[in-house]
């Protein structure tokens, strides 16, 4: 490879910020972004409004696709990565293409998290992380009148509000798994219940979903430890988990995310991770934390890019926003905003 080639795996806010930073700092660098989704970077928080028709699809996207060509950044969409061979500096794509790199930033973000007790219902749940998910909801909502939401991340609250505005009947299960990564305290539970009820949502207090049975294409029977009801669809909103399964045999250290130091560097030279997929060492806490949220991701993307180019910047410290859950510390930009 005559020219220096930096590859970014991912196409979310961290990946985009990384690519733009690389270009800003080095006009000669060859930059490739490889995303598995078939659409460009979009504003996830607008998806509920997109579903109810308040936001046009074109307004979801952060940049038009030609923006990247103008920046001399090769954007490759709909091309999942199958594996990475760090010793050979090679990325293998799902369609058996080998892409060589000099520098690599992994910014694959997260994918919907389904907690262990609910895994058996995975096929029934609808999630809302991607534009494709949103399109699936749009299609489904045309045929149903009621929805049950389980979980309790920020998206679920915005989505519940949107569904009410659409005239749908919304049931909401609040239990210990809600509000992940925040531990659901009685105080939070009461606040959330009050807010949801005021908005017209029917809160279902329960500890356990006992049974979900698909009765027809648009009818799901739900049994909890407190009530039974029939709804048109069930949505799962338990936050995100790092989307790094393609790295399982790569030799990278992965726990709740890719383990990186405070400079976002992984175990391998010239390989960085940023955004929701990274588990970052916090020098003051002497511990690792996982980032969540759009602005956090952008910040980390920028730092990873700067450090890949030789910088020694540390990931932004924001201890007041760091929460602990199941032994993992989380930096959430959205939760405090909520």
């Amino acid at each position: 490879m005559a020219e220096r080639h930096c590859v970014i795996i991912g196409n979310g806010p961290a990946a985009n910020e990384a690519a733009l930073t690389l270009r800003e700092k080095d006009t000669d660098l060859r930059i490739t972004m490889i995303g598995k989704e078939r659409v460009g970077c979009y504003r996830t928080h607008l998806l509920p409004n997109y579903i109810i028709g308040k936001t046009r699809e074109e307004d979801l996207y952060v940049h038009p696709t030609d923006f990247y060509a103008d920046k001399n950044i090769k954007l490759r969409l709909g091309q999942p990565v199958k594996s990475v061979d760090f010793s050979k500096h090679e990325i293998v794509l799902d369609h058996k293409e080998i892409v060589k790199y000099h520098g690599l930033i992994i910014a694959t973000g997260g994918k919907p998290r389904i907690p262990e007790p609910f895994l058996v219902f995975s096929d029934i749940f609808l999630t809302l992380k991607t534009v494709a998910d949103a399109n699936a909801w749009i299609k489904k909502l045309k045929q149903i009148d009621s929805v049950l939401l389980v979980g309790g991340d920020l998206t679920s609250f915005v989505f519940a509000d949107a569904l009410i505005k659409m005239g749908k009947t919304v049931h909401f299960v609040l239990n210990d798994e809600s509000f992940w990564p925040i531990r659901c305290t009685p105080e939070i539970f009461n606040q959330a219940t009050g807010a949801l009820s005021a908005a017209g949502v029917q809160v279902v207090p329960c500890q356990r979903l006992k049974r979900l049975a698909v009765q027809s294409e648009n009818s799901v029977h739900v049994e909890t430890d407190s009530v039974s009801l029939t709804v048109g669809a069930v949505g799962a909103f338990f936050g995100l988990r790092p989307d790094v399964s393609f790295l399982a045999r790569s030799g990278l250290t992965i726990e709740a995310g890719i383990i990186v130091d405070e400079h976002l560097k992984t175990d391998f030279d010239n390989v960085y991770a940023a955004g929701d997929c990274a588990q970052v060492f916090h020098p003051e806490l002497k511990d690792y934390w996982v980032s969540i949220g759009y602005s956090n991701a952008k910040n980390l993307g920028r730092i990873a890019a700067l450090n890949l180019l030789g910088g020694t910047f540390e990931a932004e410290m924001a201890p007041t926003k760091i929460f602990q859950m199941d032994g993992i510390k989380f930096n959430t930009s959205w939760w405090t905003e909520f």
């Binding site: 696709t65 060509a69 090769k74 954007l75 490759r76 709909g78 799902d94 058996k96 080998i98 892409v99």
Partner: protein
């Protein structure tokens, strides 16, 4: 119902079954009732390496030319398909093998070169074909299955055309191909459920029952329908398929195809046959045509009919055997020594290939002249679905004007008539024998080199061409023309389709433009062409040659310089290229109007 206009390319390495796959798309979509124009490009070498590309434009209404962009690319070979990326629409759909037998480097990856808005539809073509039929040979059909499923084309039409193509190879081969197709179809239906683009399902279809023909097949069929007796030829791209077609079918109606040792003997045999009264033709391309010029002169001088098809390709010399060009016009009109006037006609589409091949025999016989039918690689090899061509008895009858029986014994073979057409007898008829010679001769055929004889006989030979022009040769036809136009665009041969599409688009944009189609290249209708030119402030003439050969020929008819588009790229001129030039000229005219006004 919606109007569709979609261009599909299949691209692969020679041996991948690319041309077969493209042909099946054409046949199936024609069967489904759509208008189709297909064109293949392939390497000059026989097999084993080189890029093959088929392009099919499929529409709800008549298709005039290949489109400028490709909406769907079916890749059977990633590395070869990379060359097609610049021609893809935004967005485009690409069907490719996402599980090839080996790994590919980024530099050889088609996917790596695509724009981010491309609809990427990866299918394990190799694996599906092997699983379905035990061999990967059917992966082209697996890809077709994917294409049919994704775009909502009925699989039954594909199965019908696959059956038609492979039936003769036996049940096993046929079943294997059907299974390969079905594997791709079922995979796409299942895997791409949320990404299907069923454009063909609700599309408006043409209601005429049509047949799929290439230009060469249309020429071959025309020759058969015209009751051709003898075909003489020597194989050469792109004319060979005519010989192959006739070799198969001509004997069925009592005719013969003779492969000669070269093109000189081919034209010699055609002249000999026609001299003896048997309808005959030959077909060749530039290098072969060059060899024929001396004997074409004999046909002119001895006033013997001959039909010569020149399927033009890139030249000069061996040139670009599998690329298209319109650069034999000068050779066709002027090739050879002396003032050897002959008739040159150039059909512009597949239907006209049929029509004017039939006519060429009548022109040759009535005017006792070599008739050169000018086609080109693009026209010969492109396929169109056209209304089934046929001819009436009147259209194929022998037009020879024979001598009156009363002149037996005093027959004057080269009688100087008002029309320039002399009565022609067939040797052997008692009292009507004559000598045909390449020497200048008197009315009776005796060699004579006197100035008076040469002057009068040359004038007579050209006079009959004028008669042909007045009585029979197809007149130029105007399209969308008005009495006052800013720009007139003249087209001939295979380029005319692009001209007409560009002019139609320009008119939709409100421009004052019109088109003129010229089929009779020589002699040409001066009055009609001049009349069209007089209505236009400027004249544009696009052609696939470097020197502007038709523009050179008819240029003196125009009051100013003809504006030219001359391309020798080996590929057809696109409607977009012509439209771009039209708009550029219109803009210049508008700015000169402003300038004139200000002054």
């Amino acid at each position: 119902m919606s109007i569709i206009d979609i261009t599909v390319e299949v691209c692969g390495m020679a041996g991948d079954g690319t041309i077969a796959a493209g042909g099946l798309i054409n046949e199936a979509m024609s069967l489904a009732g759509f208008s189709v124009l297909g064109f293949d490009s392939y390497p000059a070498e026989i097999r084993g390496f080189g890029r093959c590309v088929t392009r099919s434009r499929i529409g709800s209404s008549d298709i005039l030319a290949l489109a400028d962009v490709t909406h769907v690319l079916v890749s059977l070979d990633d590395e070869q398909s990379i060359s097609r990326v610049p021609f893809l629409s935004r967005p485009a759909t690409v069907i490719f093998d996402n599980k090839p037998p080996g790994y590919i480097e980024e530099a050889q990856s088609l996917v790596a070169k695509l724009e981010p808005d491309t609809h990427l539809l990866g299918m394990p073509l190799h694996d599906l074909a092997v699983a379905a039929s035990g061999t990967a040979r059917g992966r082209n059909l697996t890809a077709l299955g994917g294409f049919a499923a994704i775009f909502g084309a009925s699989p039954d039409f594909f199965r019908q055309v696959i059956t038609k193509k492979f039936k003769r190879k036996g049940e096993k081969v046929l079943a294997s191909n059907i299974m390969s197709f079905d594997a791709g179809y079922n995979y796409a239906v299942e895997q791409f459920a949320d990404r299907l683009q069923p454009v063909f399902v609700d599309a408006t279809q043409t209601d005429t029952e049509k047949v799929m023909l290439s230009g060469n097949e249309a020429i071959g069929k025309a020759a058969l329908d015209a009751r051709l007796k003898l075909y003489f030829g020597y194989p050469i791209t792109p004319a060979t398929p005519i010989m192959e077609y006739l070799a198969k079918h001509l004997p069925e109606q009592g005719g013969r195809v003779v492969q000669m040792e070269d093109e000189i003997s081919s034209i010699g045999a055609v002249l000999g046959s026609y001299y003896a009264g048997a309808r005959a033709m030959t077909a060749t391309s530039g290098p072969g045509f060059a060899l024929m010029t001396e004997l074409i002169g004999l046909g002119v001088m001895a006033e013997i009919p001959a039909v010569i098809l020149d399927a033009q390709r890139g030249g000069p010399s061996t040139g670009l055997p599998t690329k298209t060009e319109q650069s034999d016009l000068h050779a066709a009109v002027f090739g050879g020594p002396g003032d050897s006037g002959r008739i040159v006609i150039a059909p512009t589409n597949v239907s006209e290939c049929y029509k004017y091949t039939v006519k060429s025999f009548q022109f040759a016989e009535k005017y006792q002249s070599p008739v050169i039918v000018l086609t080109d690689f693009y026209l010969d090899n492109r396929v169109e679905n056209v209304p089934p061509p046929s001819s009436t008895a009147g259209e194929i009858e022998d037009m020879t004007i024979g001598p009156h029986k009363d002149v037996a014994g005093s027959y004057v073979r080269f009688e100087d008539t008002a029309s320039g057409i002399s009565p022609r007898s067939i040797p052997g008829a008692q009292g009507f024998n004559y000598v045909a010679t390449g020497l200048e001769h008197t009315k009776t055929g005796s060699p004579n080199y006197s100035p008076e004889v040469h002057m009068s006989m040359t004038e007579k030979r050209f006079r009959k061409l004028e008669t042909a022009l007045q009585d029979d040769l197809p007149k130029p036809k105007e399209f969308g023309a008005s009495e006052e136009m800013d720009l007139g665009v003249i087209g001939w041969g295979s380029t005319f389709g692009s001209v007409l599409e560009a002019v139609n688009l320009a008119k939709q944009k409100g421009h004052r433009v019109g088109a003129l189609k010229i089929i009779s290249i020589f002699p040409y209708h001066r009055k009609e062409i001049k009349s069209f030119m007089a209505k236009c402030r400027e004249i544009l003439l696009p052609e696939l040659n470097f020197s502007g050969q038709l523009a050179n020929l008819i240029g003196p008819l125009h009051h100013g310089e003809i504006i030219r588009i001359n391309e020798v790229t080996g590929v057809p001129i696109s409607p977009a290229t012509i439209l771009f030039k039209i708009e550029e000229i219109i803009a210049q005219l508008a700015s000169s109007r402003v300038h004139d006004y200000q002054n």
